[in-house]
Symmetry: C2
Amino acid sequence: MSQSSTLSPFFNARGVAILGASTNPKKLSYGIVENLLKYHYAGQVYPVNPNAAEVLGLKAYPSVTDVPDPVDLAVIVLPVTTILENLTACGERGIKAVIIITGGFKELGPEGAAVEDAAHEVAKRYGMRVVGPNCVGTVDIRTGLNTTFIKGLPDPGPIAFISQSGAICGGVIDLIADTHIGFSHFASLGNEMDVSEADMLEYFGEDSNVKVIAMYVEGLKDGPRFMQIAREVTARKPVVFLKAGKNEAGAKAVSSHTGSLAGSYAAYQAALRQCGVIEVNTIHELFNAAWALGCQPLPSGNRVAITTNAGGAAALASDSLASNGFTLATIHPDIQAKLRTRLNPSAQVSNPVDMLGSVSPEDYIWSLSNLDNDPGVDVLLPILVPQALVDTAGVAQAWIEIAKNTQKTMLTCLMGNISTKQAADLLNMAKVPVYDVPDAAGPVLKALKEYADIRERTRTEPVTGDPKAKAEVDRLLAAHPKGSALGEAETRDLLNAYGIPNVPGGMAENVSKAVEIAERVGYPVALKVVAEKILHKSDAGGIVLNLKNEEELRVAYEEITSRITKNYPDAGLCGAMVEAMAPRGQEVIVGMSRDVTFGPVMLFGMGGTLVELVKDVSRGIAPLGKDEIIAMIDETAAGKLLRGYRGGSPADIDAVVDAIEKLTQLALAHPGIQEIEINPLVVYEKAHGALALDSRAILGM
Amino acid sequence: MSQSSTLSPFFNARGVAILGASTNPKKLSYGIVENLLKYHYAGQVYPVNPNAAEVLGLKAYPSVTDVPDPVDLAVIVLPVTTILENLTACGERGIKAVIIITGGFKELGPEGAAVEDAAHEVAKRYGMRVVGPNCVGTVDIRTGLNTTFIKGLPDPGPIAFISQSGAICGGVIDLIADTHIGFSHFASLGNEMDVSEADMLEYFGEDSNVKVIAMYVEGLKDGPRFMQIAREVTARKPVVFLKAGKNEAGAKAVSSHTGSLAGSYAAYQAALRQCGVIEVNTIHELFNAAWALGCQPLPSGNRVAITTNAGGAAALASDSLASNGFTLATIHPDIQAKLRTRLNPSAQVSNPVDMLGSVSPEDYIWSLSNLDNDPGVDVLLPILVPQALVDTAGVAQAWIEIAKNTQKTMLTCLMGNISTKQAADLLNMAKVPVYDVPDAAGPVLKALKEYADIRERTRTEPVTGDPKAKAEVDRLLAAHPKGSALGEAETRDLLNAYGIPNVPGGMAENVSKAVEIAERVGYPVALKVVAEKILHKSDAGGIVLNLKNEEELRVAYEEITSRITKNYPDAGLCGAMVEAMAPRGQEVIVGMSRDVTFGPVMLFGMGGTLVELVKDVSRGIAPLGKDEIIAMIDETAAGKLLRGYRGGSPADIDAVVDAIEKLTQLALAHPGIQEIEINPLVVYEKAHGALALDSRAILGM
């Protein structure tokens, strides 16, 4: 717990004032006072209501100004029209933390946004931290400081949940409150006028009562700051993340909802992976993963031993394991022999250990304790499908005994609902995660393994760009208006400044310049027309390859320019690029596009014309350390080809890393560049480098 | 209901004998008699037990021979050692349908398999149909004929569930019995000594009480027969399928369990799609999809209108829709204007319609009935996150009213559990599917849309192969021993016989033969060494391209053969292929491998050396109609390229279809061919054909 943080009063206030506390049980503000009493908050509760003497038996105060010490937190549940006045009153009273439950701000449009901005100014003036507006408050389950009106509350436990949506926060509590999955905190953030998900993440990162952080996020306010804090937090404890608004439809639902700008989902995925945050796809996965991370040891490997009373259930579990990167462990022959000595003679003792329908608690104790001794097993996954003659609660108790003593990860499945609910409660209460279907285990193990890998990851520091290169590119960019599209002729100069090698060549405004360049780079050469309005040079007949001498070059130059002049008189013909014929190599794409949330998103993948069809690409947010760039490359089929696929010779990966690194520096130093792309970058054999064969860029507006 | 089917007694028996009915409440057989009484089975129940006068108040008979008429069904719950004797007694008594609950047969190994085979012989002798052994029986919820010992039973309804695993059957009932999702039948099949999943599928396909069939399958007994029946059934009603044992690990769990051979999962996927069966990935998806298919109309399109009281929940739903091929409908401006007139002024009336937290049942009636009038909306998806002041049951009632009157598909979400259980029950009872999280809707809609598309699909009849071609290939194959690997030299003759065009060329055992072939096909030519043990000709320096005349050819032939003789003296050099240099075109792969369950699996995809890296392939089970072949092609990126990607000219797809069709005929006519592959098949521009540039085959053992 970080008492020193400015967010501390939201969870450790010695006294709370509720502005707008009603005596009407149908009002939300009444529910807040009720919850503060119900969950045994030990601090002072001060209802503020000029029209009541008391609320729920507590003395009410006419104004926040009248509230006595100690008061560290105010909760405002009053109309938006009175917000500035009430916030000011809180500030004057010396309160440093305020939760604004009230809605009607930014989420309703420009007028609401103006009020929100004004309120933010008041808060800043008094040095107040504000959660909300348009939220459902915060909960510390340990201290009982519950400023929400939500009915019900889960068991105390390891998970802190940060939700941008108040409704999702309430829905999750409703969904989970009777499962015995344990929570430490809830924080609904609403419009995030002041306190953002990054602030809250930082706070929970330092609170030792929080073992794992689960987040529901529609759009991050400040991508780079989030990434920085997430990197620090995930080095200490796991963070699980559910992104809403992944695509255009979802983003539309989000943006009209909280007014937040949902960035492109691909950028989110890259960013989360880079900063060690575990992404999940559904609400159920969010809490299944968080719960297992919060109460089980991380797996030391991916080898699972299943014990079951039903082969079908084991088969479904195995499928789910396999599609999440786990395998069935090979059980040591000695252990198999030992299992055999006490189990039903018809039981199967290789993995899955199938003890047949009418299994006993003792069978599970015997099989699991022996499997626990097998160093070739990383995870224990006992499964029971309840049957008429099986003691389900006894089996659950047996599993709990095993879980108490094992160092291995242990997840369990009681397939069912009616006859399993009580036994499942026992398991979760003992911090042994339990699922109602066998196929739930796979995604949870994947999350655990992902975090184990994150803990082992190292990061090389990104390299900063050369100031001289920056000065040169600044000079070059000054010549182009905002929003310009730069063709190869201009883009190669940008690449050149940062030391990314282009195929030798240059821009020729006329035929004699063309000959001059050809002589410099050496025959044979390629000729590519340059015209403002011609994007697809090849389709327009604007490319001629393999010109062997001056004569061929002169003829081709004449032909190509007169063809363009004739067929596309308004194309804005400027001349042609003359380039050496580059030897063949592996074609990759390297590029950058700037994301509204995270900044420069670097892209790597299979190059050439099939890029969009094959979609073999990976992404990373700049700045990127060398190992992050290598991970990006290795993630793609193009990367596997570079490494020497099926006996092919390995290509010069170092040259690709270097090109991506330099493009990263260029992107970071020049925010005016909206997009830049090298396609293809031709990569040669190891130690033979790579060459940009074509490139383009777009400047921001 | 098909009274005429030999499976009819399993669900419509006028009397049932239970062989081995115990008086001990701890025995499974007692549970069976109990269930028959509990669920009000109207027929006769005859416990058979030589040591008891009565069981559960019913007169017991010493032997099945003594059981009076009517008796159409016997359930055997007696030790495996007595099975032949008891089965014979049933046969002598004239009973035509038997369920063997007892385990200890094929699933335990060769000894058990022998008993099972003997029992099958007895059954065949008496013309008896047998379900099991090693199963938990069958249930007809309507008639109360419940031969299982499973506790609990779901509501009556549209879903028939076929499960190879008895435990999964029991687990599903436990999981689902209190959800009010409705079922018509359960059939657990166990070892499938006689009645297979295809038989049961056929039976349920003809039973008018069954609206949708859900299947849990570990391995199909007879792939082609299943496909034939499934094609007929899915033309009338939807079939939803969960495959267990998808991968090696899962398959291992399965095969040691029921002794069934799990075929390759990719072949299953292709087969299911071809015969119109909807595949799902989890137990929950299986029943969510079946329930919606059983009680909701199919969507007329993919446009969904969401109504909600929480933007976050709508965002999660939208993400789930988008990743399953659905979109948010554009609500007609007139409808939006109408919505505006009665909803909260701060509500959002474009899609998702967000009526804000404290919504009323009337708000939902108003928004949903107006959206129901919008022809641009195909699906209604109302969502509620329960809140302190919202009447959850009232909202559910409002949704039910709307569902009664709309022709559109309607799915719903009450996000929660504690405060939503009762309202959710109301919805399912009214046949309005409801989910506890918003992200459950997407996969269900995908299944509905898939079935709508299946209903509209037509199928051209596969073309039968030419008998002359068959005779020729039979003759060619006779020369090769079982298990042979055929190289290009031999495989091109097989292709040739079926009219699949090879690049012109031939096998030259010596240099003069090489010159003769080159003169026939015309220079320039390619030379490829042929040696028994050289698979990668290129790596071994065994390929020379572009030989322009006899002199070059002679030099190359000499060089290539002496290089092989020197470097690989034991390679078994036979000579070299001499082939015309084929013009460049798009390279695809066309192949076949024989699957243990389904027979010939045809493969199409991107060709060349990147096949395994890019994995751009589709599969289909032979025989294939032309439209099925076209669908296979269009599913891949290679197919998109053939159609003329990004302004490229369209290639000769007809030639590819023709090649696949002929390879299909070859595969069907020659079961001795285990694998055959053309890679690459080079495809030229429209009407310019395609040429097999390399090919190989493997004969079965």
